[in-house]
Symmetry: C2
């Protein structure tokens, strides 16, 4: 119940005496319930998990610390009675996750309630908590990282010219699953040649050729926790451009791991890497942020981008993933999932970063 206590400690600062949680990952973090639908209602003294028929059994099994309520229909049908029974006068709702329709339903229900209550939109207090991992969470992320490492080490020797992006993506995915991963946190990216200039490319039937960049961006999931890793390869020798871009990105990523320290702002961390890429002449070609927090969601806090004020602290888990993209030619991205440990960055993914493949062997 440690998470729940920390969550409740945020009530005063938010001016609330209860909260409604509907977002899947915040719900799971606080209650352990992994179903796709349900609501938490939390007061200083009670914690309820309201689910429909499909999830009553599962909720009982996964959330023994919660009162399980079997609900029917819209939030307006059951929320007022529950909030009143729990003696909540000011109910916090998650403004980043509640749809406008549901927010309006909650407000109508609050007004129509026999004992009226106030609805207070807030940033969910669960999210700053989730950004800093506890030992159980770190263990799960670490296992997910080991699965990704093992899968890529297994598949890389079989990469050869003539395979399609889709074929390679499926080889990687099936290997990650055989390593024990739950369904993957996101669709694997295998992007070759010009496709690799698209940071979020989807694998196509395009055949992989010698001498072009091949970006592989993959994740694994263990106990709900995700990892995220990207490597860029080339079959045969890269031309001058490839080598220049690859070395720029590799150097920037390695420097980031060495130089980012506890207490640094995520914006400063991003700026540090952006400065290096800029100096190498590719400043306009690194269009996304340096990275993102990762955990129950593949993307969560902290946010590592130019305008981020998030401070990087001990036990956060995030990605470091600089990239350089040249439309028409291709791109290079190198990414690790890392944690802040003992004030420094510790990489949790560790697959080799040699880019060159040749006849199936990394040179």
């Amino acid at each position: 119940m440690n998470r729940l206590s920390s969550f409740r400690n945020s009530f005063a600062a938010n001016g609330i005496d209860g909260a409604l949680i509907g977002s899947a990952s915040n719900r799971r973090y606080l209650s352990g319930f992994s179903g796709s639908a349900g609501w938490l209602v939390i007061s200083p003294s009670r914690a309820c998990l309201a689910v429909d028929f499909r999830y009553v059994e599962q909720a009982r099994q996964q959330s023994p610390g919660f009162e399980i309520l079997h609900i029917k229909g819209d939030v307006g049908a059951w929320l007022p009675g529950l909030v009143t029974g729990m003696d909540i006068g000011r109910l916090g709702v998650e403004s980043d996750h509640l749809s406008l329709t549901t927010y309006q339903s909650v407000c109508r229900a609050a007004k129509a309630s026999v004992v009226e209550f106030q609805v207070i939109p807030i940033k969910s207090p669960a999210e700053p908590l989730r950004a800093v991992k506890d030992a159980d969470e770190l263990a799960l992320v670490t296992r997910a990282c080991a699965m990704a490492d093992s899968a890529i080490a297994h598949v890389v020797p079989s990469i050869e010219a003539g395979m399609s992006e889709k074929q390679l993506a499926w080889q990687i995915e099936s290997r990650i699953r055989q390593e024990g991963s739950e369904p993957l946190p996101f669709e694997i990216i295998v992007a070759s040649g010009p496709n690799s200039a698209m940071p979020h490319a989807i694998p196509t039937d395009k055949v992989i050729a010698e001498g072009e960049p091949i970006i592989i961006d993959m994740g694994a999931r263990c106990g709900g926790y995700c990892c995220d890793m990207t490597r860029t390869y080339i079959i045969g020798r890269g031309d001058e451009r490839f080598n220049s871009v690859y070395n720029t990105v590799l150097g920037a990523q390695a420097s980031a791991i060495t130089l980012i320290r506890e207490g640094m702002s995520a914006g400063a961390a991003d700026g540090l890497v952006r400065g290096m890429i800029d100096k190498a002449g590719y400043g306009d070609c690194f269009g996304h942020g340096l990275g993102h927090g990762i955990g129950l969601d593949a993307h969560e806090g902290p946010r590592l981008g130019p305008t981020s004020d998030d401070i990087l602290v001990e036990d956060m888990v995030f990605t470091i993933e600089p990239g350089v993209y040249l439309p028409g030619w291709g791109g290079v991205r190198i990414e690790d999932t890392v944690t802040m440990a003992g004030g420094k960055v510790l990489a949790l993914t560790g697959a080799g970063k040699a880019s060159r493949l040749n006849g199936g062997k990394t040179l």
Copy 2:
């Protein structure tokens, strides 16, 4: 541009002269763009797709009929200029999909705009359009259904006592992917014995035993379009209870396919099946709706449940999936993806419905 014309035809009834679309499936349906982030802004004469750096290339490739805008930052930074430039005075926003935070940003941007515009929350006009499939969409769903049928036919003979739910789920998933499916629309359910009493169970390490129900609920995806199919099996002979429950569900599902007709309300269709299950004495054990529309989303309109007013019309695609669940013992669910064709229900999934497996052979 047919979809876009139909979409624009809804403007007058909604009192708008432009719309902002941020939900992934509505965006894809209208523009073809399959990325995970981006906004459509549509006026009577212009159609814009606004994406960040990661998706500029992909948007150009997938959405040739749209003006592609490269945006940076929050919706407040770029929306006012665009809306003003497009001469939109009343901008519809999707109230079911917009978070409260984003809605508030849009409203602030509208007020601060040099040329002020109104923000009108509406039910997205894309969704009633999506519920009725065109020929291209029907072809994709049909292919997804064929993949699911082929995969289950391949895997069923290998089901035996002693396998874990997770092992079986992975066998099915890897086979569906080998059949050509894109990443699956939802996590496969393999639930045996008491686990099968949870309609949305996640596969566990529980070993499958003889004489207990085994529910398999699986989907495939082709060109973005999903299918959804459930079968229930048993190894060896079922006891009296299994046979009674199985025959009830099988009869109800078959009757639904025969009796549901074009023009019927989805609520009436649900009631028809619910009545049959009630008559067999299991009325309290069928706690979910009869089915749901399916397409780009695994769950979309129409909604087939007791309170649904949706009318079932030609070329809709939806599921018919009655189930009976007895906590502590288990459950039975049988589901097909179907379409309304020539006024009647046509099942698009067609895997056999014999429940009994024995030493790997369906009896």
